[in-house]
């Protein structure tokens, strides 16, 4: 095989000719250029013309209220619109983000296993595969087991999905890009996403299936335990920022240390990194993904709590899982990576939502990589890891953060 820049990327594979590998690499670079070149150009162009989306929406809202007042519309039109528009944007995002995450998961999983994954639907690398899967699941027969508790069986996917949707509300996607800027945003996200456990328990109970029941109980035990270090790991961040609002915490991370390192909380000496690692582990555990997927362990419990679910109801569980993956990464971006702010000033021309999505997708990539790397851990070890390792260390972390704050205030 001829030497070239592509040789550093990986070894030649026996069944392929050197030319095929070279062509594939060149094609992938051309493809990446074709995708990101226009996006970059559009982003820069849009940025020069109109600026950030948040202020733009604000200006559009002002124009709309002036227009409504001139035309003599009823008084409730403007407040209603100011409620509905963010709701619509959130709804679109909530449906779009899992689709993107599912596609990423399919492709990354395939390439880790030296496969290609979906290549056909949507013509470009199977980009529409999640949409096709969703349509297929919607059209499938809805099967309820004869012995099942029908109402609870029907309600369980909804109870799992709705908190995932509600928890997106206080997440700040950039300056002024917030569904509702709650003062207790962090607490709200943690509390509401914890409610989904109830849905998993309902699904496990209502299916009248021993595997489902075991899966539901395991899910409840696991998510309730991992909720504790997850919240505790966020305490140092909240203590430093002095606020629970997600946009407030994102704003508190502006500026540079010694003119080089951005003041993101993950770069706070030691404590920030430990807090982020604990948060990341607990996020993976909360979403029931592979190193911690004992709730739906295929090799032990068939499929755990969703064994008896098919069609649309299974799709809702699936959507909720990926919505939580994106939510965990988005909250991590707000809390540890400075939200939508650019790391350095010369990168300011890229708008905040691009930064936010880039940081979030980076974390999503890490979550997917973790899933396809590690084997599942045993139930007792899972609990031991949480109670004997994560909880003490997050408490130590809180104490260290308090000491640091006191020392700085002295």
């Amino acid at each position: 095989m001829a030497k070239g820049p592509w040789t550093v990327l990986g070894p030649a594979v026996g069944s392929q000719t050197a030319d095929a590998i070279k062509r594939r690499y060149l094609m992938s670079f051309v493809m990446l250029g074709c995708i990101f070149g226009p996006i970059f150009a559009v982003v820069v162009g849009v940025q020069l013309k109109v600026g950030e989306i948040g202020p733009l929406l604000g200006r559009a809202m002002d124009a709309f209220s002036v227009f409504a007042a001139q035309r003599g519309a009823p008084v409730w039109v403007v407040p209603a619109a100011s409620f509905l528009v963010p709701c619509l944007i959130l709804a679109v995002l909530f449906n779009l983000a899992p689709v993107v995450v599912i596609w990423l998961e399919l492709k990354i999983a395939a390439h880790i296993q030296v496969r290609m994954g979906p290549m056909w639907v949507g013509r470009f690398h199977g980009i529409l595969q999640p949409v096709a899967d969703g349509l297929k699941l919607m059209l499938k027969e809805d099967i309820v087991p004869a012995e099942a508790d029908r109402w609870i069986h029907y309600l369980a996917p909804v109870v799992v999905l709705v908190p995932a949707f509600v928890a997106y509300a206080p997440v700040s996607f950039g300056p002024r890009l917030v569904g509702i800027d709650l003062d207790t945003g962090t607490l709200f996200v943690m509390a509401v996403s914890g409610l989904s456990t109830l849905g998993l328990l309902m699904a496990g109970w209502a299916s009248q299936n021993k595997y489902s029941a075991l899966g539901g109980l395991r899910a409840a035990a696991q998510t309730v335990s991992y909720e504790i270090p997850r919240v505790l790991s966020l305490l140092p961040v909240v203590m430093w920022a002095g606020t629970l609002s997600l946009s407030g915490i994102a704003r508190a991370q502006e500026g540079l240390w010694m003119g080089i390192l951005p003041k993101w909380f993950i770069f706070y000496p030691g404590i920030g990194l430990i807090a982020y690692v604990i948060y990341f582990i607990c996020t993976v555990a909360e979403t029931n993904r592979t190193p911690f997927d004992i709730a739906e362990a295929e090799s032990e419990l068939v499929s755990g709590f969703n064994t008896e679910y098919s069609g649309m109801k299974f799709a809702l569980f699936f959507l909720a899982e990926y919505a939580y993956v994106f939510l965990g990464a988005a909250v991590g971006t707000d809390l540890f990576f400075g939200g939508g702010s650019a790391p350095w000033n010369f990168l300011r021309f890229i708008p905040s939502y691009v930064w936010f999505i880039a940081k979030t997708l980076g974390q999503v990539f890490l979550i997917i990589l973790v899933r396809w790397t590690y084997p599942r851990i045993r139930v007792d070890r899972l609990m031991e890891f949480c109670w004997k390792f994560l909880v003490p260390w997050s408490l130590v972390n809180v104490a260290l953060a308090g000491a640091l704050i006191l020392w700085r205030a002295r």
Partner: protein, 179 residues
Amino acid sequence: MISYFTNIYAVTLGLLKGLKVTLAHLFQPALTVQYPYEKLTVSERFRGALAFHPETCISCDMCVRACPSDCISLEAKRNEATGKKDLLWYKIDFAKCNFCRLCEEICPTKPKAVHHTREYELTFTSREDFVVRWTPDVPQPKGSEPGQVWSKFLTKGQKLGPNPGVPASTTGSKPVAQI
């Protein structure tokens, strides 16, 4: 106390090593071949579909007798003028063929009148299609063209990859393969 921390360090190192392995595989080119659009070249002595050349055949019945699965049949007529046999028809039932190459080995003509090609796309959509029938008038019967099954499923603008299994000349009526 010290062992607790060294343990944490060792475990973290091991976990990171695992991530490194998967990351390295992520950037390897995939082994997958996108089948109908890309095709693998099979080995030179691969026993694929049988090809038959009516103008070379001397109707000696050797292949019919050699065939262990009884998939070849032919009919010939004595030509009184030359004293030789003239082939009327020659049939191979690909549903029965077990690709053993005995017919090709026994074939006395030079070049071989019946021989394997490297064509492996032998999918048929009905039981009757499996029986391919050659006559002196129809040296390339319907159903024995390469890629004929896939070409049914192509939509506008799609193209099959070049077929590496069959040299272009074997699809014609001229026998070339001499294995």
